[in-house]
């Protein structure tokens, strides 16, 4: 078994899925899955105009690296990469990208899905939705072990 390449990045810069994908693919991997999460124009029926992501940056970097490494150990992949954006995002911009490259497609899909589900569950990252009517709200699920406000 190859040791998989792992990339994890928390950044305020725009994300480029194509570039991360190009960086992670290799001649040994016949399947590449790229997931992109993008800012939608609505949330549970309310018109959204902008999002702001706030991270516990140092911990988020560590957790994102752990998540990508876990995916790299659990599935037969050549590379796993994930990047999450912070700060203010306009509609249509990517908030998160995940790339998994593998010899076979099953592992690429599964590793990719593992990473995005784990991000949703435990990346210390918060999302503030800004609505068309000027109001805002913090969104979230509770990570393991806690209780919602």
């Amino acid at each position: 078994m190859r040791e998989p390449t792992i990339v994890a990045e928390i950044t305020a810069e725009p994300l480029d899925g194509g570039r991360l994908s190009a960086r992670l693919r290799s001649m040994e991997d016949g399947a590449v899955v790229l997931f992109e999460g993008r800012v939608r124009n609505s949330a549970e029926g309310r018109p959204v105009v902008r999002l702001r992501y706030e991270a516990y940056a140092e911990m988020a970097q560590r957790v994102l690296s752990e998540i990508a490494s876990e995916a790299g150990s659990r599935y037969e992949v050549g590379a796993v990469g994930a990047a999450h954006r912070t700060g203010s995002l306009e509609l249509g911009e990517a908030s998160v990208i995940v790339v998994a490259a593998a010899p076979h497609r099953g592992a690429a899909y599964e590793a990719s899905r593992y990473v995005i589900e784990a991000i949703k569950q435990r990346l210390p990252m918060w999302k503030e939705e800004h609505y068309a009517d000027g109001s805002t709200a913090w969104l979230g699920e509770q990570p393991t072990g806690g209780e919602a406000l």
């Binding site: 911990m59 995005i116 918060w126 503030e128 699920e141």
Partner: protein, 85 residues
């Protein structure tokens, strides 16, 4: 001579930061205090009475159980419901 108190730094994010009106609090507690003790203490502060009794917390960049005992110099973060992705 044993220290009788410990000093930790508490980071607040998202909605918890807004409740506290600040992103960071320095706090002293009796030696041997746990994360649960810290949370109880924080809940006596202005705005933080609305903090849950058992919020998710991280200690030194890792999720931690509320029973963990603190040490001077620890960085504790209160983790509101996460919403990455």
């Amino acid at each position: 001579m044993a220290e009788t108190t410990l000093a930790v730094r508490v980071l607040l994010f998202g909605v918890y930061r807004e409740l506290a009106g600040q992103g960071e609090i320095a706090i002293e507690l009796p030696s041997g205090s746990s994360l649960a003790h810290l949370v109880s203490e924080l809940r006596t502060l202005p705005g933080l009475d609305r903090l849950p009794e058992r919020p998710a917390v991280a200690r030194n960049l890792r999720y931690a159980g509320l029973g963990e005992v603190l040490e001077t110099g620890d960085e504790v973060a209160l983790i509101p419901p996460v919403a990455g992705g």
